[in-house]
Structures are given as structure tokens and as C-alpha cells.
């Protein structure tokens, strides 16, 4: 930031406004318009049903948690049940992605082996591949294996490092680490496994954190695969449960639906607050979103 501020300021918007103050006011105004729907949903979740309808304002005149208690018990299971299902799948996915992708990344970044260029190109190619090309055969495969309504179709791809983007991210990161560290460890008698675990991984924490946060958010948000593979209400995850909520409740019961939507967004928002720095750097350097 310090470097940008030294740039000469004769800038596109300067003649238009009376200085930074106007700019800040405009930006905050714009930010408010953008976030308004979100804030409105939060405030609506705290309003009694009849107030939501004709009150676009944000401050609830009466605050109630009724929507939360009602929404919590509106489906077959209490909402905590679906939160737990989502949490299990998400946690397994994060661990699987961290392990499997970093193993592959270490090999690509540090080891020499036959056909390396070919495999690396193939790995990059899979990043571009639309997911829909493989969903039909994947579904058939998992259905033949009798794995529908289990977590396997959701977790197995992560165990097998199919999120190539993260491999790529870590390869880029590992390449910035000095090779001398590996060599020193090697002279001390460490094998590849030990170098990976004791030298490279600890230095990789920023890349691992980015991977963990994005895997968390994507898995938590993921709808299509969970819709496909989890169609028994006992296995529903949060997105699928929210969706049946929409089907089951009449259009007037927004309150409970908003309340549960807030709970669904909560973990993402939490990760956003904690991991902002990594998230923004991750997007800026790799185009990950």
C-alpha cells in the first residue's frame, strides 16, 4: 500500500471529486447497496414474521429468535443434524485435499522422474475441464459400486487429488522455497519422505492454509454433487436441506428460511474473517475464487 500511495496522483477520478472524502462516501454508499440484501436477510431473520413483509428497513423494531427455533425444527431432523453432515464431509475433504495435493505437488516441484512434463501438462489440463463432462459416468460408477447416499462419492475425489488447482498452487509455492534447504536435509541423511514432511510442508503453511480455506468454502457451498449423491433425508447436507426447505414451506414463511440460511452462511463468513489475508492473496496470485 505504501508503494501505491507514492504514485503520482493525477488520476482518472480526481477532477471529478473534491478529494478523498467524497470518494470514501461514494465507496461506502456503493458497499452498502451491495451488502444490503445480506444485511436485510440477517435483520429479517430476527424479525417476527409479519414485520418482514413490508419493512425494507434494517433495524427490527422487535427482535425475536422465533425464526431460529422454528427453522431449526422445521425439517425431518433438527437443523444441527444437517450442519453436522456438512461438517463431516467438509472436514474430510479438507484433510484429504491437504494430504493428497501436497504429496503430488512435492513430486512435481522437487523430484525428477520420467515423463514429468507430460504428467504436469495433463494435470494443468484437468483444471480447465468442465466438471459436467464426467458427472454422468461418475454417477454410474458410484451407483454400480452401491455408494449412493454415502460420503464416498464426495470425499473420494479429494483423496485422489482431483482438485488439480491446489496441486498447481502448491507447486508454484514450493518452487519459491530455496532448494538448499532440501539439499542440506539430504546431506543430513533425510529421505524424500522426511524432506517432504519436515522441510517442505512446514514452509508451505501459507499455501496449505489457502488450500484448506478454499476447500472448506467450496465443499460447504457445493450443491450439485450433494444433490446427486445424497438423496436420503438422513444424509442431507446443509445446501440440500435448505433446498427442501424451499420446497416444503409456503412462500410466506421466509423468517425460518432466512434464519437457517444465515446459519448456513455462518461458517463461510467465519472463515472469511479469519482467513481474509490468505483468501485475498490466493485470489490475487492464482485466480482462485
Amino acid at each position: 500500500m505504501a508503494t501505491t500511495s507514492r504514485r503520482p496522483v493525477p488520476v482518472l477520478f480526481r477532477p471529478l471529486n473534491g478529494g478523498p472524502l467524497v470518494k470514501h462516501v461514494l465507496l461506502i454508499g456503493f458497499g452498502l447497496v451491495m451488502l444490503y440484501p445480506l444485511l436485510w436477510m440477517i435483520s429479517s431473520s430476527l424479525k417476527p414474521e409479519e414485520l418482514i413483509f413490508r419493512e425494507p428497513g434494517l433495524w427490527p423494531s422487535t427482535v425475536t429468535l422465533e425464526n431460529y427455533t422454528e427453522g431449526w425444527y422445521a425439517l425431518k431432523h433438527p437443523f444441527g443434524y444437517y450442519l453436522w453432515n456438512s461438517a463431516v464431509i467438509t472436514a474430510l475433504s479438507v484433510v484429504a485435499n491437504l494430504v493428497a495435493c501436497s504429496l503430488a505437488a512435492y513430486a512435481f516441484a522437487r523430484l525428477t522422474f520420467p515423463l514429468k512434463k507430460l504428467w504436469f501438462a495433463l494435470m494443468l489440463g484437468t483444471i480447465m475441464l468442465p466438471h459436467h463432462v464426467v458427472i454422468v459416468p461418475q454417477y454410474i460408477m458410484f451407483s454400480e459400486l452401491d455408494l449412493i447416499n454415502t460420503i464416498w462419492p464426495l470425499v473420494m475425489p479429494k483423496v485422489l487429488a482431483t482438485d488439480a488447482f491446489f496441486i498447481f498452487l502448491m507447486v508454484q509455492f514450493i518452487r519459491t522455497l530455496p532448494r538448499e534447504l532440501d539439499e542440506a536435509a539430504e546431506i543430513d541423511g533425510a529421505g524424500y519422505w522426511r524432506i517432504y514432511l519436515r522441510v517442505v510442508m512446514p514452509l508451505c503453511l501459507p499455501a496449505l492454509a489457502t488450500t484448506a480455506i478454499f476447500t472448506f468454502i467450496w465443499t460447504w457451498n457445493d450443491f450439485l454433487s450433494q444433490l446427486l449423491y445424497l438423496n436420503n433425508p438422513d444424509n442431507f447436507t446443509v445446501p440440500v436441506a435448505l433446498r427442501t426447505f424451499l420446497d416444503a414451506s409456503s412462500d410466506s414463511s421466509w423468517g425460518p428460511m432466512f434464519a437457517m440460511s444465515i446459519l448456513a452462511l455462518g461458517p463461510i463468513f467465519g472463515f472469511f474473517l479469519v482467513g481474509q489475508k490468505y483468501l485475498i492473496r490466493g485470489v490475487a496470485t492464482t485466480g482462485l475464487k
Binding site: 480526481r14 454422468v136 485475498i280
Partner: protein, 319 residues
């Protein structure tokens, strides 16, 4: 390739020269270790990616419903798609409009905001976070539900319009405006490309601007002759990425239209129709054929983008 814009591509650390002083025993050991490290990925490539790609190519030439044996029908699925299936054509049209309208709009917003934020403004990280947040949440079911309610007949938009005495309508229930609400949702998530733009702007050396200012170049001139050309690789990167991504949009249309693509197929996204065909009608051969058409469309568009980029993307004089 994907990284080559936002960050200056790092030269691949060249592997230590092989052979010569390195014993073959050692390099064999290294290769064995590498393949062990790569084992999960190899298995995934085979079972989760390449296998299914070929399987879907095969299925696309069959009539298959999961219950009976797949029956070879040659190009029938592909022919049916383009000649006898108005819903397929509709889904292609809807998706094309969605991509063609929302991607440039989203990128324009992203670029405009990045330019405003790039100028030594206090509180940059605060604004960056605020504008980025929708990108993180935008793909979720909860936000799609919110959107459906905001643009519904009793929704927030109409309540606000009511304050100004304007009578609204059910935006998501009207075939003329339903797609527009989804486009707006996409534009709303401009934060991620904005951050990529910001990273790009930061890499433009300030000495360029100083030199231009000394030469008497005005603001607009600087923008046109320095900022824009140096930013074209990033515009290109965002463009390719967003096109690929938005062709695959699914959740928003599914939730807003209750899984049907309505009203009057106005939000029947390509992938939503693929889902309906494959997993509601169990016409899996047809769905596989649709998937391959999607793959070809995306590959062709990306190819065209790369070819066209020669004429407008400026990679500096070092390339």
C-alpha cells in the same frame, strides 16, 4: 498457464542436470519416490477423470437409462439435440445470453472498482474485503434463496421501489426479467476479478506514470497508453476464466427456478437442462452427449479467445 498473469510467471526451477555425476541408481530411487508421491493423483486421474471422460464419450453414442444395457445409437443424441429438442436450443440460448451479458458487465465493474481503489486510498483492505465477500457467498444455496426472495413479488426490491411510488412486479416469476435477476447475481460477485485486477495494477511500475507525467500526458492519456495496455493480460485471464465458469453455472438457476428452469424456460441454464435430462429423466446417453457439446463449446471459445488475444493482449517487450 493459469498463473501467468496475476503473478509474473516464475521460470520453472530447472531440475538439476540429470545423468553425468548423478548415479542412475539414485535417479531410479528418485523416480520411484516421485511415483509413490503421485500415486493418489494417478489413481484419481485414471478413475475420476480420464476414465469417465472416455466413458461419457461412449455413452453419448448410446441410449442409456441406468436400468437397461446401453444401446448403441450412433449420432442420434447429437442429431436429436439440434433438430428435435427446442428445450436444448432454449438452454443454449439462455446460457449464451447469460455469459455474453454478465461476464463483460462483471468485469467492467471489477475493473472500475479496482481503478478507484488502486490510488493510495486509505482503508483499501477494508473495501477490498467488503467487495470480495459476495464472491465467496454468491454460489451458495442460501444466497440463491435470498435472491429469489429479494426479487419476488413481495420482495425487498419491490418494497424499496414502493417507497418511490413505483409499482414493482414478480421479477423472478416473469420470463422477461427472470434471467436478468440471475445476471445481476453474477455481476454482484465481481469482487474476485476485482482483486486480480488490483494485483495487476500494482505491478505497473510507478516510474511509467512519472515519466508520462513529465512528458505532459494527462490522466486519460495515461490510462489509455499505460494502464490499459499493461492490464490486457489480466483482462484476458479474467475473461477466459469467467467465461468457463459461467458456462457451468447451475446452483443459482436451480434454486431460483425451483429446479425447473422456468418461467417458460427463461432460466433453463445448459447445465440445469443436462441435470434434468440425466438425473430426472434418466436419459444418461443424452446428458453425456450434452456434456461433450459443452466441452467442445468451452474448448472452442477458449481457443478463439487465445487466437484473438494475439491482436489485443499486450505481453510487454520481453516476450
Amino acid at each position: 498457464m493459469a498463473d501467468s498473469v496475476a503473478v509474473k510467471p516464475r521460470k520453472a526451477a530447472s531440475p538439476p542436470a540429470q545423468g553425468g555425476h548423478r548415479s542412475t541408481k539414485r535417479s531410479r530411487r528418485e523416480a520411484r519416490a516421485a511415483y509413490l508421491f503421485l500415486a493418489p493423483w494417478f489413481l484419481g486421474l485414471l478413475v475420476i477423470t480420464i476414465g469417465p471422460i472416455f466413458a461419457s464419450l461412449y455413452l453419448s453414442f448410446t441410449d442409456y437409462s441406468l436400468l437397461q444395457e446401453a444401446k448403441w445409437i450412433g449420432l442420434d443424441n447429437y442429431v436429436r439435440m439440434f433438430t428435435e429438442d427446442p428445450r436444448f436450443i432454449a438452454s443454449l440460448k439462455v446460457t449464451t445470453i447469460y455469459v455474453v451479458v454478465s461476464v463483460p458487465l462483471q468485469l467492467a465493474f471489477a475493473l472500475a472498482l479496482a481503478l478507484v481503489l488502486d490510488r493510495g486510498l486509505r482503508g483499501l483492505s477494508f473495501y477490498r474485503s467488503i467487495f470480495y465477500l459476495p464472491s465467496l457467498l454468491g454460489g451458495s444455496v442460501a444466497i440463491a434463496i435470498l435472491w429469489r426472495k429479494v426479487f419476488g413479488a413481495d420482495g425487498l426490491v419491490n418494497a424499496v421501489l414502493g417507497i418511490f411510488g413505483i409499482e414493482g412486479q414478480g421479477w423472478v416469476g416473469d420470463p422477461d426479467t427472470a434471467l436478468g435477476t440471475l445476471i445481476l447475481l453474477h455481476v454482484w460477485t465481481f469482487g474476485a476479478p476485482m482483486i486480480i485486477f488490483l494485483a495487476g495494477l500494482r505491478q505497473i511500475p510507478s516510474s511509467y506514470y512519472e515519466a508520462a507525467a513529465v512528458d505532459g500526458a494527462g490522466v486519460l492519456r495515461q490510462f489509455k497508453s499505460i494502464t490499459m495496455p499493461l492490464l490486457t493480460p489480466i483482462i484476458f485471464f479474467n475473461l477466459v476464466l469467467e467465461i468457463i465458469k459461467s458456462f457451468q453455472s447451475f446452483t443459482q438457476a436451480f434454486i431460483v427456478s425451483n429446479g425447473k428452469g422456468g418461467p417458460a424456460d427463461s432460466t433453463l441454464f445448459y447445465t440445469l437442462y443436462l441435470y434434468l435430462k440425466g438425473f430426472k429423466s434418466y436419459d444418461m446417453g443424452y446428458a453425456a452427449a450434452m456434456a461433450w457439446v459443452l466441452l467442445l463449446i468451452i474448448a472452442a471459445l477458449t481457443g478463439v479467445n487465445f487466437l484473438a488475444s494475439k491482436y489485443w493482449v499486450f505481453y510487454g517487450d520481453d516476450k
